[in-house]
């Protein structure tokens, strides 16, 4: 069934055969033959971005909200180097991306040709794998392999560098099922003996906790269902990393909130005080562990991860289980049921009593104001006014991101896209476009800070052109809020370059691109303004002027253990009642 065709045609054919329906890209000299083929077909939609970094973040938003790989097409040299931040972001957060780059013709490689860069060299450490294809007859096979590698095991970005002469030359097309099966076949089933060992600990544990991460979401919707089944059947509390929000529903009865540096008091103390920690698809990131020698000192720890290099990397665990979270949970539930569904009921009752005590701290309370919009209040209103809807949230990076994680509730996986590992300012806006492209009728909101948002604001044109009605909810404090917070708390209140000077008039900026612009500064107007944003059929830039000096609490200072977390001004000044009133 092999067919002769040009390399450029092969690229398009291979993408079609891989089920790709949309490509985020930007043309240039070294990819013109591929663009010529894209022009002559209608199966694959091409979204023209305004900067290649935007293309990768859009593909990430697409991938995370659908579970399918995101595809990027950019040119050689600057096209490829501009994509590097996005690729690194996808690598850190385990997002499947297939990035196709043009390259100068093979005979020019190494001559410092126009728009030549050593793309495979530059992207080697920021991709899961990459290829330079020098022979058209190997092109289709390589593309199929690339999809395999990007999506199997721990997902990640891959890159295929395609010289222009390879695109022009003719070769034989290989269909996906004829492609050489790569030896890359990560193990998905966990070791049954280890799983049984874990079940035995679960049966006796007095103070267990599920610590879940992005791996549950990457494993697919089935894993989230299994997690819910297991948590509800055992009655164990569930906390999650930033990346794992939505795997267990925020409205679920066992949910104790996000953990980590800005996580909830009860979640962090549960991690610190537990006697059995069950890590499902999380990786003991330094934002989670705090000071390592003091990290959950009294617990037995089990770690389920599909990537063996994640296990025992940072924290030594007692029960390492290499495998896919979904497969392991399936076996785990089977074993636990077959042994009589035992749990330590008395222990658990006491443990929940303790957790309820911790919850009384109301660690998210803050002093509200009727004169100025507090960022937390803005997010509470956003949550209240949008929570029943078909809603997807993306964020930029900083205080607003942490507040969004604290105050918005996610009841389903794939609804929350944020740059966790790399912490890429400028991620959220393009990601929201990618999400909207995949879900045209959904309500897609990017919760942003003004400084992050400006980093990729060029994508406004993309949103206008492709009619993606994304809502940009900017909590504008005219500061690099998180940087300012660190400077206040740790650098003697010397606010070195952490304010946003010369900001644009966001309403006029919106109008300049054919968007709707809304500015809101009075808490009384907030609900109506948010409803205006939701109801507008098109992209909206919402400039929400908020308190400029609000700090994000709770907070675990770096190098501190979980039980030494700082709570907000509200609680330290005994003002819980005032703030608490708002929460009711």
């Amino acid at each position: 069934m092999s067919r002769q065709m040009t390399g450029a045609k092969m690229v398009v054919q291979a993408l079609k055969d891989q089920g790709v329906d949309v490509v985020f890209g930007y043309p240039g000299g070294a990819v013109l033959p591929i663009y010529d083929e894209i022009f002559q077909q209608n199966d694959i939609r091409h979204i023209l971005v305004r900067h290649e970094q935007g293309a990768v973040h859009m593909a990430e938003g697409y991938a995370r909200s659908t579970g399918k790989p995101g595809v990027v097409l950019v040119t050689s040299g600057p096209g490829a180097t501009n994509a590097v931040t996005g690729l690194t972001d996808a690598l850190m957060d385990s997002i499947p991306i297939v990035c196709l780059t043009g390259q100068v013709p093979t005979f020019m490689i190494g001559t410092d040709g126009f728009q030549e860069a050593d793309t495979v060299g530059i992207t080697r450490p920021c991709t899961k794998h990459n290829w330079l294809v020098k022979d058209t007859s190997k092109l289709a096979d390589t593309i199929h392999q690339a999809f395999h590698v990007a999506t199997k095991g721990r997902p990640g970005p891959v890159l295929i560098d395609i010289p222009k002469d390879v695109q022009f030359a003719t070769g034989t097309y290989t269909a996906p099922r004829e492609a050489k099966v790569n030896h890359y076949q990560p193990k998905v089933k966990g070791d049954l003996a280890k799983i049984t060992e874990l079940v035995a600990l679960m049966e006796k544990a007095e103070r267990p906790v599920f610590y879940t991460g992005g791996g549950v979401i990457n494993s697919g919707p089935g894993a989230s269902l299994l997690l819910r089944e297991l948590a509800d059947a055992t009655g164990f509390p569930v906390t999650s990393t930033l990346m794992g929000l939505g795997a267990y529903p925020a409205s679920g009865k066992n949910w104790i909130g996000m953990l980590g540096m800005h996580g909830l008091y009860e979640a962090n103390l549960a991690m610190h005080g537990c006697d059995l920690m069950i890590n499902l698809g999380a990786r003991f990131d330094d934002r989670i562990t705090g000071r390592i020698p003091d990290f959950s000192p009294k617990s037995k720890k089990a770690h389920v991860d599909i990537d063996p290099s994640s296990i025992n990397k940072v924290i030594h665990v007692d029960i390492p289980i290499t495998g896919d979270v979904g497969h392991v949970l399936e076996d785990l539930i089977k074993v636990w049921k077959s042994r009589g569904r035992k749990v330590n009921k008395d222990g658990l009752a006491k443990w929940w009593g303790q957790i309820e005590q911790w919850k009384l701290k109301r660690c998210l309370s803050y002093k509200n104001s009727d004169k100025i919009i507090k960022p937390q209040y803005a997010l509470q209103r956003l949550e209240e006014l949008t929570k029943g809807r078909d809603r997807y949230i993306t964020t930029e990076v900083g205080q607003h991101q942490m507040w969004a994680a604290q105050f918005l509730g996610f009841d389903a996986p794939n609804r929350w896209m944020t740059s966790g590992g790399l912490g890429t300012m400028g991620y959220g806006f393009p990601a929201s476009i990618g999400v909207q492209v995949a879900h045209p009728d959904a309500l897609v909101i990017n919760v942003a800070g003004e400084a992050s948002w400006l980093m990729n604001m060029q994508e406004m044109g993309t949103a206008t052109q492709f009619r993606t009605p994304v809502k940009q909810f900017i909590l504008n404090n005219e500061r690099l809020g998180m940087v300012r917070q660190w400077q206040q708390l740790l650098h003697g209140e010397r606010y070195s370059h952490s304010w946003s000077e010369s900001l644009p008039d966001f309403v006029k900026l919106a109008e300049a691109f054919g968007w709707k612009g809304i500015q809101c500064k009075d808490p009384k107007d907030l609900d109506d303004a948010i409803m205006d944003m939701i109801d507008f059929d098109g992209p909206v830039l919402f400039d929400c002027l908020v308190e400029k000096h609000e700090n994000c609490f709770p907070m675990i200072p770096s190098g501190k253990p979980h039980n030494e977390m700082l709570l907000g001004d509200a609680s330290t000044e005994g003002a819980i009642q005032a703030g608490g009133a708002v929460l009711v």
Partner: protein
């Protein structure tokens, strides 16, 4: 809220914990890594070591299966037990890597290195160099009236010892291959 009372230079001043958790015993391990002999595979392995801050004491690589295009990379590295485990896991997840063996812990193994030594001199020193070469079972592979090139094979320690002896006798140049190693037995 006022600034936190934290000593200047304390770790809490950083966005990261600056304390080194690895104050443990460091050991040397010989790893054998079987890889697809494809473009960039060595860069991938070396980049992994430099990018994650691992040490390379010695590295040898050559295609050992011409039909299957497989290469064997022998790398001698140092680190704590946890770091060595991490290195093996990181190597193992590279796409072109088929197998990773830690010859140091997986059982007895043989390690050999080949080296070439150029020694220049005359008179008694020249005679002494030749005599020592004989003791070390080094072969003379080039000779002029003023110099020898010796070829020696052995463990890295043996080659180190030979180098020490040659230094006062007119050692000019050394080329070493790095360690090649295989597990003993079938």
């Amino acid at each position: 809220m006022s600034a936190l009372k934290i000593k200047k230079g304390a770790s809490s001043h950083s966005a990261y914990d600056l304390r080194d958790p690895n104050a443990e015993v460091i050991g040397s391990h010989t790893l054998a890594v079987m890889v697809d002999n494809e473009a960039g595979v060595l860069a991938r392995v070396i980049g992994l070591f430099s990018g994650r801050g691992y040490n390379i004491e010695s590295l040898t690589v050559a295609e050992v299966d011409h039909e299957g295009h497989r290469s064997r990379i022998t790398v001698v590295t140092t680190g704590t037990a946890a770091v060595i485990e991490q290195i093996k896991a990181q190597l193992g997840r590279l796409v072109p890597v088929h197998e990773v063996h830690d010859l140091t812990v997986e059982g007895p193994s043989v390690e050999r290195e080949l080296a070439l030594f150029k020694v220049a001199g005359s008179g008694e020193k020249r005679v002494e160099a030749l005599r020592l070469a004989d003791i070390f079972r080094a072969n003379v592979v080039d000779s002029t009236l003023e110099s020898f090139v010796f070829e020696i094979t052995g463990t890295p320690e043996k080659i180190d010892a030979f180098a020490e002896l040659m230094r006062p006798l007119g050692l000019v140049d050394v080329a070493r291959t790095g360690v090649a190693a295989l597990a003993r037995g079938a």
